[in-house]
């Protein structure tokens, strides 16, 4: 179950938002302005932060490690980790138990990245310097987003692994990739390109699906997934319909209009727009906007993939993603 730090009004199991600077006037459009959330397993599921809010995150972090695999992607302005700079849409997958940093993000007041910790119990940073560790521990104790989470100790065994479908090499404790160049990703039947990444626990960890959907690609049908889903538009836009039929169908005169009002149903998510979708609820059909869409999907527990459609098992591109994920799972099992 997705739980948000902060309040939101859920509608049919989902809530929509856009990552925007809350210091500036925020339009009264009913959308969240960023989100810090827990998802998946109530004890060891992921935690995700995507917001611009200066008081929650420091601008810089010294060299440290986490007891969890993690994922971070620059949104808007670049971020820096060690000697590497990441532009908008570029991301870094970092292995658990490996030191990295220092890291800093360039927005002067807060974070401008999506940060995912595959296991929320690994959020505590472990530093090499005892003095800095004490400062970090103090800050952590004041972090309300971590209430009730028992952090893993430094010597805990963390059975995490990172694998990807597009051949990016682990070098040797992290992977750099991004949405800038998607030519190495798998081509799906509708012309979309897809990259899949497994991280976190070897069996029940997170699945990331990176989509590059061209303009005019057929709509992905409505579906229901047995785990929580976060969907973020990195570039372009997409329209997600409202599944107001009992089986998740849009059920209007056509799939883009409401059966009740006849008006366009659902929501148009632009750059940095996101959807949070609760486990087991219907997600409406979706299609890319006029310039296509590049999207990141975060699936809390990869064992729940693929989703089911109104007519049964997923078909088309969603079914193809199932094959990609099965291949990753197989590689993880072989490596273990």
């Amino acid at each position: 179950m997705i739980t948000l730090l902060g309040s939101a009004t859920w509608h049919n199991g989902h809530v929509d938002g856009v990552i925007r600077d809350i210091r500036r006037p925020v339009p009264d459009d009913g959308l969240l302005s960023g989100a810090i959330l827990r998802m998946g397993d109530p004890g060891a599921g992921p935690v995700v932060a995507m917001s611009i809010e200066g008081r929650i995150f420091p601008r810089k972090a010294p060299v440290h490690l986490h007891k969890s695999d993690s994922f971070r992607m620059a949104l808007g302005e670049p971020i820096r980790v060690g000697g590497t700079s990441y532009a908008h849409g570029e991301f870094r997958l970092q292995q658990a138990d490996a030191f990295y940093g220092p890291e800093y993000w360039t927005d002067e007041v807060g974070t401008n990245q999506l940060l995912l910790m595959a296991d929320r119990r690994g959020l505590k940073p472990y530093l090499t310097d005892a003095q800095l560790q004490r400062l970090a521990d103090t800050a952590l104790a004041d972090d309300v987003s971590l209430e009730g989470v028992a952090m893993l100790p430094r010597d805990a065994d963390v059975p995490h692994a990172i694998v990807n479908s597009f051949g990016a090499a682990l070098r040797p404790n992290h992977v750099d990739a991004g949405f800038t160049d998607t030519t190495g990703w798998s081509m799906l039947c509708d012309g979309s390109r897809l990259a899949a990444v497994a991280l976190g626990h070897r069996e029940s960890g997170v699945l990331l699906l990176c989509w590059d959907r061209p303009p005019g690609a057929a709509a992905l049908p409505a579906f229901r997934l047995g785990t929580d889903l976060v969907r973020l538009v990195v570039e372009g836009s997409c329209r997600i319909g409202e599944p107001d039929g009992p089986d998740g169908s849009a059920d209007g005169p056509d799939s883009r209009t409401s059966r009740f009002t006849g008006r366009p149903s659902g929501v148009e998510l632009g750059r940095l727009g996101f959807r949070l979708q609760q486990e087991g609820t219907w997600h409406g059909e979706s299609r890319p906007g006029p310039s296509g869409s590049k999207e990141l999907w975060i699936v809390a527990d990869r064992r729940a993939w693929p989703p089911v459609g109104a007519a049964g098992p997923a078909e088309g591109p969603l079914a193809e993603t199932g094959a990609e994920v099965a291949a990753l799972t197989s590689r993880l099992a072989t490596a273990a």
């Binding site: 810089k60 972090a61 010294p62 060299v63 490690l65 820096r80 060690g82 000697g83 700079s85 292995q95 490996a98 030191f99 990295y100 940093g101 220092p102 800093y104 530093l127 090499t128 310097d129 005892a130 800095l132 070098r171 040797p172 404790n173």
Partner: protein, 256 residues
């Protein structure tokens, strides 16, 4: 100059350990050996050791090239080469006075190496990292001798460039700094001491350089110019030996 004919007496510093026989590590080993010092160069890869041994003599900046440029007497080639012992185990640096780590720029790897070096090297030995920018304090804190750990940032080709950025933390023992700066002077380098910054990557040289590279990349991305032309403009305007894009290529792939 004859190899070993160095007024600063590099040999008096004692054996120098070098960890990593890549482009930089082998260049450092060569610089010390040419100046008359004894070197133990450790790399777990037999292929890397063999490649380094070959490059030492035949490489673009190797000993034979130094002879051709009049920097080394032909009769000294073998003598210099034998000053370097190529080893596969860290324990080989047990007798070294200064150990310079030059493994790939991966923080987790460097942390592991420093932990192992701390056990393998003599308690009094100075451990120096050739990191391009990772905070030295973070590495020092992984050892039981933080006062004997400092940064010695080299540039490529190490056997040629005078650059020596010595990075010290608030805990670094002045004696360790003195040992390393004396050695650097003896190698013909120009050591400059800078402070470690725990929250920043790049010390001084790389922070300034990568800021320039970032702007150069933006210029190319905006279609204002090409990598080749940006390089040429900076060479012509500021008398840089090479432009930023060529520098990246050379620093990562070597200058052969």
């Amino acid at each position: 100059m004859t190899a070993g004919d160095n007024p600063a007496g590099v040999g008096a510093v004692g054996t120098v350990g070098v960890i990593g026989a890549g482009v930089i590590g082998s260049g450092i080993a060569q610089a010390v050996a040419v100046a008359g010092g004894a070197v133990v160069c450790v790399d777990t890869s037999a292929a890397a050791r063999e490649r380094a041994r070959r490059q030492l003599v035949e490489g673009r900046f190797g000993l034979r090239a130094a002879v051709e440029r009049g920097k080394l007497a032909a009769a000294d080639v073998d003598r210099v080469a034998t000053r370097i012992a190529w080893e596969s185990e860290l324990s080989a640096v047990a007798g070294a006075t200064v150990v310079i780590e030059a493994v790939p720029e991966d923080l987790a790897l460097k942390v592991r190496v420093f932990r192992e070096l701390d056990r393998a090297a003599a308690a009094s030995a100075v451990l120096a990292t050739n990191s391009s920018g990772f905070p030295v304090g973070a590495l020092a804190a992984t050892t039981d001798r933080p006062t004997r750990v400092l940064g010695w940032h080299w540039s490529s080709p190490a056997q040629i460039m005078r650059f020596a950025e010595i990075v010290v933390t608030e805990h670094t023992d002045p004696d360790a700094v003195e040992t390393v700066t004396r050695l650097a002077h003896g190698l013909g380098k120009n050591p400059i001491i800078v402070r470690d910054a725990p929250m920043a990557w790049g010390y001084v040289a790389n922070r300034v350089y990568w800021a320039a590279v970032a702007e150069a990349r933006r210029i190319v991305a905006e279609g204002v110019s090409t990598e080749r032309d940006v390089d040429q403009l900076l060479v012509d305007c500021f008398r840089w030996p090479v432009g930023p894009f060529t520098m990246i290529q050379g620093a990562t792939a070597g200058w052969t």
